[in-house]
């Protein structure tokens, strides 16, 4: 019984890691409808920024996290201005091809700039170690991840659903020309939204190093999981992405605990079943 409680906590924490990584993708792929295969590459940019700032420059943890978001946002914005914006009107498949090109370049560039070795990250003492709650061990860093995830979810939902910025983006995605004719600079709006998605990617990448590790192969390794989380949740719905991440995390960890022989089979079967029954996602309307 106690084992199951621990496992559940493990699953929830894993779900939060997935959500932190997928949150940004939910904006660029889900909301803006851009088939962004380079999302995890932007997460890697954030991850390396944080790890190098802490390890080499001695920055404090939280400052390095913030900088990870900023750097990824800048890189994302530059990519959007120079490359991605040309393809907003193109087919999804051309977007896939372009962003896969970016992924290849990112992998080689990371190998060249940082080296192929595994990147370590040092977390401050207040995040290290365990909190004991009776018989249950709670890892401080995982609690921190859960806290960050909740904060992120609340602020994003607020931003998208309760601010004019969010309303404008939703309007622009729904009908770009109409929005532009209302005097809104759609071009700038898209750039901002993409930078936001990239910042979240960078933040998620930096936060997840301790659990997932970081090396130049990162942009490919977690791509499929993120794509599934965002689409099972429902394109364009942050709440959906959150729900799907939780479901994915918990089912994955509990499944491996109870039936290690079957492993990740359960999670893909669940995703397939959910997508078949609800192609629009857990939270989402048919468009």
């Amino acid at each position: 019984m106690l084992g199951l409680v621990n496992i559940l906590i493990g699953g929830i924490a894993y779900g939060f890691v997935l959500f932190l990584m997928a949150g940004g993708l939910s904006i660029t792929l889900g909301l803006m409808g851009f088939a962004n295969m380079a999302h995890a590459a932007l997460a890697m940019v954030g991850g390396y920024t944080a790890a190098l700032l802490i390890g080499k420059a001695g920055w404090p943890f939280l400052a390095a996290l913030a900088m990870a978001g900023v750097t990824a946002a800048l890189v994302g914005a530059v990519l959007e201005r120079t490359l991605f914006r040309r393809l907003y009107q193109a087919s999804e498949l051309e977007q896939v091809l372009l962003t896969i090109g970016v992924v290849y370049v990112a992998i080689a560039a990371a190998t060249y700039l940082v080296g192929p070795e595994q990147m370590a990250i040092t977390v401050p003492a207040w995040l290290d170690g365990n909190l004991r709650l009776g018989p249950i061990d709670l890892n401080r860093y995982r609690l921190f991840l859960i806290g960050s995830g909740v904060a992120l979810l609340l602020s994003l939902v607020h931003l998208i659903e309760h601010t004019t910025f969010g309303a404008k983006i939703r309007a622009a995605v729904f009908n770009r020309r109409m929005t532009a004719s209302c005097g809104i600079d759609v071009d700038k709006l898209y750039a901002l939204a993409f930078a936001l998605g990239s910042a979240l990617a960078g933040l998620g990448g930096a936060l997840s190093i301790k659990l997932l590790g970081l090396d130049p192969n990162f942009p490919i390794k977690f791509l499929t999981e993120l794509l599934i989380v965002v689409s099972v949740g429902g394109l364009g719905s942050l709440r959906g992405t959150f729900l799907a991440a939780m479901l994915f995390g918990i089912i994955d960890v509990v499944g491996k605990y109870l039936l290690p022989e079957i492993g990740a089979f359960i999670i893909y079967a669940t995703a397939l079943a959910l997508l078949t029954v609800r192609p629009q996602g857990l939270v989402g309307r048919l468009r």
Binding site: E117, Q118, D137, L212, G213, D215, N217, G255, P260
Partner: protein
């Protein structure tokens, strides 16, 4: 089975090799993963090649050495096989060397056999590769020999029950089977066994199963990569003591040890190479390596790569540059020298490595997390698969 034509063609290749050895370079096809999950090891082997050239020169017995590097892109046997085929047919290499992932080696070995090109294996740890392939030699290690040593260690330590955790692929299954057999034979109890797929990146579920069983020790084999540090950190986060882990040295490989950090302190492993190994040969190797790549960790892959090249030079020298595959194999079976890891030799009967296996514990020394040797078993041979 593969045509007689092939054998004839290979013989022809060998004949032409003898005819113009002077003006023909010594070609070594070097198959490693330079991208994908094995990229760090590939990069480290490259530095080892440079170290080797610096010490032993770029010519041997009048032939200029040319190392043709090809990227196998990770565990991708069809890629490895195609590259090996092109190296044999197109480049007409004298040696095939490198090899990291077992599936790649298994795909390449039949080509080495049918074309009679000696294959010097740096790191594929499955026991059964060599028997069917008379032109293959292993310079790395097998998981079976390490598991056997660790089973002995576990019973000597008086552990009553041990849980086993391995990655589910050939070397892992070999390790698990050998550990179970030897440890049970010594009177120990297996508290349980669980296997994770190679692709698994989150281990909390497996670790909880270990925790539930509450064993005295946990036997772990995971191939050297980014994953062991994640396992070690999650192990500690689950409130378990890292000192309970006994494992094959891949899990505390020097390349990934810094990323595991304090979570690795106390872990006991058995392995063939330790960076802190105290010998003149090792010091010389590390100094040369660090002068070329100060940031790059020295681990077992570059050391074995270096040994493989040394062996190639020895057999080329002994034949005065006039190579025939069978003479080369005969000479390879007599290889014996002091490596940075300790004394090594090739077992003439099995073409497998004979070496000292070191027991190490992870400690903190001058602020660095390192493996420290505390015991050893000399002249260990691969015991063969227990499956």
């Amino acid at each position: 089975m593969i045509a007689k034509i092939v054998i004839a063609a290979a013989a022809m290749l060998a004949a032409t090799a003898c005819a113009n050895a002077e003006d023909r370079p010594l070609k070594i096809g070097w198959l490693m993963s330079y991208t994908g999950p094995g990229a760090a090891a590939g990069a480290a082997s490259d530095t080892a090649i440079e170290v080797f050239f610096k010490k032993f020169g770029r010519t041997i017995a009048g032939r200029k050495t040319e190392i043709i590097k090809r990227d196998t892109t990770g565990p991708a046997p069809d890629v490895a096989r195609r590259l090996a085929q092109e190296l044999i047919v197109g480049e007409k290499v004298d040696f095939l060397a490198g090899m990291d992932f077992t599936p790649n080696t298994m795909a390449v070995a039949p080509l080495s056999t049918s074309a009679k090109v000696p294959l010097l294996i740096v790191n594929s740890a499955t026991s059964g590769i060599l028997a069917k392939h008379p032109y293959a030699v292993r310079f790395g290690f097998t998981t079976t020999e390490m598991a056997q040593q660790l089973a002995g260690y576990a019973s000597k330590q008086g552990f009553k029950s041990v849980y086993t955790f391995v990655q589910e692929f050939e070397p892992g299954l070999d390790a698990e089977a050998m550990f179970l057999r030897e440890y049970k034979a010594a009177g120990g109890t297996i508290a349980g066994s669980v296997r994770a797929p190679l692709k698994a990146t989150d281990f909390s579920a497996y670790i909880q199963r270990i925790k539930d069983a509450n064993p005295d020790a946990v036997f772990v084999f995971m191939t050297a990569s980014e994953l062991p540090p994640i396992f070690l950190r999650q192990f500690k986060e689950a409130g378990l003591d890292p000192a309970k882990i006994i494992g094959i040295g891949d899990i505390t490989d020097e390349a990934s040890l810094p990323s595991a950090g304090d979570a690795a302190l106390g872990v006991v492993t058995a392995f063939h190479y330790t960076q802190t190994h105290d010998s003149a040969a090792n010091k010389e190797f590390i100094d040369a390596f660090k002068s070329l790549a100060p940031e790059r960790p020295v681990s077992f892959v570059p050391v074995v790569s270096y040994d493989v090249l040394r062996a190639i030079y020895q057999v080329v020298e002994a034949q005065k540059g006039e190579l025939t595959p069978d003479r080369t194999m005969e000479l390879l079976k007599q290889i014996k020298f002091e490596s940075p890891r300790g004394p090594i030799a090739i077992d003439p009967a099995t073409r497998d490595i004979v070496q000292t296996i070191w027991f190490r514990k992870v400690e903190k020394r001058d602020g660095q997390i390192v493996n420290v040797e505390f015991a050893s078993t000399p002249d260990v041979k691969d015991p063969g698969s227990a499956r």
